[in-house]
Symmetry: C2
Subunit: 205 residues, 2 copies
DNA sequence: GGTAGAATACCTACTGGACGGTATGCGGCC
DNA sequence: GGCCGCATACCGTCCAGTAGGTATTCTACC
């Protein structure tokens, strides 16, 4: 297996470089040459691991699902979990190249509609699951359409992230997330539950 | 001036075709050939009016500001105006090729950061202006950060539009806008003002 | 009101370069 | 020695942009 270690390393290097370039340029404007340069790998090596540019992009998109599935709730209440997830995701968008590249490819529509839909659905499903648990716990206002709320929240996070990126290169993303919760939570959770939430980021100690 | 009529017509044809292609493919993946074909114009004609692909894209982006500046409030209360503006914009996103292309180019980051920032700021400023008027009228909850709220709303609209586009080709955009207001308004406006608003789309008679 | 000439508006053919992808070869670990 | 992992050289395609010519329409002057 020692030989596989080398292969895995170059594969990871390619994936990382590709994520970075896709994040910076978008799919169409990204060139294989730049990915090669940044990965410090030759064409043969790259095309040994990924048979086409599109396959490489799909592998980058996968990183998003991987991040989401490795994330650990670290909280008690479902709504608090949703809030925490938002902040964790925001930090990943600031620091994790794979997540950044994945998000850009997901947001750009065009070539791969199917994985994009899956990504949006994945987020929406997670949000909806948490909201269902919150409703069962009696935290939400009665009569709320959970699917609609989940769709709005995921969409809003998407857009806030995007505008933050354009305007401040995501420097104010955490602040904007906080603004979002401040605005949205009163229409979602009941006062008694709202009192128990920390809307601002909870720094894990 | 009869001579300008022809020139203006081809210019408009090029602009429309470009907006469509940019909307469908994005900036980098859009080719001048496709724009030419769709406009029914030759290369020489196009490059007479627009000196480069980038200049053409900038002209398309301008369409957004043009739409926004021609829009007429048609309402009494500032919050209602904001809601109506959202729905009007949603319809433009469904029907107006220039707006669609402009939005896609604005959302894609890369080549032209400056006009993008201007576009976001423009929307945010409009929203903020309406919120200020609403606050002065006593419609909003006290202590609301208007700039933050305006930023969240414009960001949310951006993201909702995007997810709607990916998931249903914008067919459920109106519904999602309605969901957004349902969720956001309780945290923004006071009950007495909320009662006077129509959250669903008001079809002008 | 007709015509010269000048600007405007447009057409065709071409170019240089970059891009994604492949073919083939080669070294080193099992 | 065989295959996994990688290196190098090359290819066909396509694309944005240009060069230089042509048509169309306006202006000026008779």
């Amino acid at each position: 297996m020692a030989r596989q270690a080398r292969a895995l390393a170059t594969r990871q290097a390619v994936l990382l470089a590709a994520a970075e370039v896709f994040d910076e340029r978008g799919y169409a404007a990204a060139t294989m040459s730049e990915i090669l340069d940044r990965a410090g790998v030759t064409k043969g090596a790259l095309y040994f691991h990924f048979h086409s540019k599109e396959e490489l992009a799909l592998a980058v998109i996968e990183g998003q699902g991987a991040w989401l599935s490795t994330w650990q709730p670290s909280s008690d209440s479902p709504v608090q979990t949703l809030i925490d997830l938002g902040y964790a995701f925001a930090h990943a968008l600031q620091d994790d190249p794979l997540v950044r590249g994945s998000i850009r490819l997901t947001i750009e529509h065009g070539s791969f509609t199917q994985p994009q839909i899956a990504a949006y659905q994945g987020w929406s499903d997670v949000a909806r699951g948490l909201l269902e648990r919150a409703r069962d716990a009696g935290d939400l206002h009665p009569g709320i359409d959970l699917a609609a709320a989940a769709g709005v929240i995921t969409g809003a996070v998407t857009g806030i992230q995007l505008s933050s990126q354009v305007l401040t290169d995501r420097r104010d993303l955490i602040q904007r997330m906080s603004d979002l919760w401040t605005l949205v939570l009163p229409g979602l959770v009941q006062p008694h539950a709202l009192a128990r939430l920390s809307v601002a980021e909870r720094v894990p100690s």
